[in-house]
Amino acid sequence: MKFESQLLKGIAPVVVLEILSRGQMYGYELSRAVEQRSNNILTLGKGTLYPLLYNLEAKKLVKGKWETTDSGRSRRYYSITSKGKEYLAKQKTELRELATGLDFVFGIIKPA
């Protein structure tokens, strides 16, 4: 499903950090993981992926390093930092509250 870019804009960093929190990945791996773990609901445009990763790296939420894979190829792996974990936890809390609020608005949850 193609979402409005503005809707995804704020979520993309959280999604990436959540996936990286489960283990380091390189760029291609990460973009596949986003699709798979969101049940193909979310897709990260390739033109967004790398700029996003570099921005997260600049904010010290992730760190990248070159490693050689089992197949002998060099890939740049990204892993979440402790600062990234703190940021992720905070953002997840806010998004849950947002989702709850929307559920109330849409009538999915009825107020007590």
């Binding site: 033109g47 570099y54 600049a58 070159w66």
Partner: protein, 550 residues
């Protein structure tokens, strides 16, 4: 990463993918290492995406879809460059910004300097013409003494070349000549009576003015006045003749020559020309009265003759304006302002260094004012950015001359009483304007010399009156009021250095006439003396003594 490594990285990718990645990296325009890393990442991503493709055609198609997904290469490059810039450490950011700022500054400075050096002045006013009109009275040329003086000077100069001996003596006072030198001088005086008669004739003309040739391109400051040097020779020749006649007892002829020298001096000061002309005129007047005092001091002259010379001098001095005129000097500064600044057509304009440099490069006809070195010592920043422009310089010049106009009309005693410290005020006005600081003359000193000249000249009247009184009454008067009471003197001159009547002290066998002098204090007629005990003429401390003569 060199080209070989790049090719190796992209060799397994379809051409369109390799092209796309190359384009993105090229558009990124960032550090090589960073671009190499990004290139490796993108190439690895494409490899991973295309790994499962079985045929080249499939690879090509999937690569195209992937390229579409990545989007516009230029936009991607911009986003990645921005993001990578944020990754750089703070010190690198500061260094980069500093270099950028320095680069911008250097560029601005270069452009500014190029603009600064490219401007040219626009000379529009012919100040030579203005100067000529300023000094010329409304009178016919036949009433001008200058042509006669110039003729005499030309003939004298030719004689000077013929007589090397005379050339060495020119400027020496007659009583300082040796017994061997005096006959040489007296012979010359006799042989060249005609030249001095021309000077006498000139001195009896009512006016004097010189006319200079020039147009807008003629720098007023480059105009020389060699005639002043020649006039000086003539004045000393007349002084010699006066002293020579006095030694022989021909006092009437001696006094006639003294009056001629005074009249020549009066011509030069009356035309209100440049400071140089006025100073030379004052020097002639001083030579005239100095010669008179010498003769009176070394000879006994009868009362009738003294009365006649006193009367003549009263008429010569009457209506003399001893105030120094600064009008002509202004024109020099205005002329230099239009030559030393560029013209931006709004009245502004910055320094024109080429012209300024001429003042210091030994250009003929320019005074070596070391202006260029002075400017360089102040620093290029001062010259380029903070030196006042043309309009500001003109305004400062106006303030400067307005200030000195007021000072010129105050006696030194008034200036002291009002607590005006002229040098301080002057510096305050011109401070920061290197051009004016260098160009303006020693105006304060010239004004002071004007007042000195006044008291020097006016002191001759009471001096002669006292000598007459002594001869007639048998003693010197107790005070100068006595001379007025008894009709020997019309009025007592006022000393501008005290704003009181001229100083007088009767001694046991003589008298002292004095001025308070430069320090404007009454030292009771005590002069300043040198190591040998000789009175120093016009020192900055002690009184100025006009009588007795040494």
């Amino acid at each position: 990463m060199d080209d070989k490594e790049k090719d190796k990285l992209l060799e397994n990718l379809p051409a369109c993918a390799a092209e796309y990645i190359t384009l993105v990296i090229k558009k990124m325009r960032y550090r090589k290492k960073v671009r190499a890393d990004v290139m490796s990442e993108l190439a690895a991503h494409f490899e991973d995406e295309l790994r499962d493709c079985k045929t080249d055609e499939e690879k090509e198609q999937k690569a195209q879809r992937l390229i579409e997904n990545f989007g516009d290469p230029k936009l991607l490059a911009i986003l990645m460059r921005r993001a990578k810039k944020r990754c750089r450490p703070l010190w690198r950011t500061i260094a980069a910004r500093t270099f950028q700022a320095a680069g911008v500054l250097i560029l601005c400075l270069t452009l500014y300097t190029a603009w600064f050096l490219s401007g040219k002045p626009r000379v529009t006013i012919n100040y030579v013409d203005q100067f000529n009109r300023m000094v010329r009275p409304t009178a016919d040329e036949s009433l001008n003494a200058a042509p006669l003086y110039d003729e005499a000077a030309k003939r004298y100069e030719k004689n000077l070349q013929d007589c090397n001996e005379l050339a060495k003596l020119s400027g020496k006072k007659f009583h300082k000549l040796t017994d061997e030198q005096k006959p040489t001088v007296e012979k010359w005086l006799a042989d060249n009576k005609e030249i001095l008669d021309v000077v006498v004739a000139g001195s009896n003309k009512p006016y004097f003015w010189q006319t200079f040739n020039g147009d807008e391109n003629t720098d007023l400051m480059s105009i020389l006045m060699p005639f002043l040097g020649n006039y000086r020779h003539l004045a000393y020749a007349l002084h010699w003749r006066a002293q020579s006649n006095a030694e022989k007892g021909n006092f009437k002829d001696a006094f006639d020559d003294i009056k001629t020298v005074y009249r020549v001096g009066r011509h030069l000061t009356a035309d209100k020309g440049t400071f140089v002309e006025q100073l030379v005129g004052m020097a002639f007047k001083a030579l005239s009265v100095g010669t008179l005092r010498d003769i009176l001091g070394h000879n006994r002259i009868d009362s009738v003759t003294l009365a006649a010379i006193q009367n003549d001098f009263e008429q010569l001095i009457a209506n003399n304006d001893f105030t120094v005129s600064i009008e002509a000097e202004k024109l020099f500064v205005y002329d230099e302002a239009q030559r030393c600044f560029t013209d931006d057509r709004f009245g502004g304009g910055h320094l024109y260094l080429k012209k300024v440099a001429e003042f210091s490069l030994g250009e003929p006809n320019y005074p070596n004012l070391r202006l260029f070195e002075t400017l360089m010592n102040k620093g290029p920043v001062r010259i380029l950015f903070t030196h006042p422009n043309k309009q500001q310089t003109m305004e400062t010049a106006d303030r400067y001359y307005t200030f000195f106009e007021k000072i010129a009309h105050k006696t030194p005693a008034q200036v002291k009483a009002e607590g005006i410290i002229i040098d301080e005020q002057e510096m305050k006005i011109v401070k920061g304007n290197v051009l004016l600081e260098t160009l303006v003359p020693a105006t304060r000193k010239v004004i002071e010399i004007g007042y000195r000249n006044k008291v020097d000249v006016e002191s001759t009247l009471p001096l002669i009156a006292i000598l007459r009184y002594k001869q007639d009454v048998g003693d010197y008067p107790e005070n100068l009021d006595k001379l007025v009471e008894t009709g020997y003197l019309k009025k007592i001159p006022i000393d501008p250095f005290s704003d009181k009547p001229l100083g007088y002290k009767k001694t046991s066998d003589n008298f002292i006439i004095y001025s308070f002098g430069e320090n404007c204090q009454d030292d009771d007629g005590q002069p300043d003396r040198d190591k040998e005990g000789k009175i120093i003429p016009f020192p900055d401390k002690g009184d100025w003594i006009f009588w007795p003569v040494e």
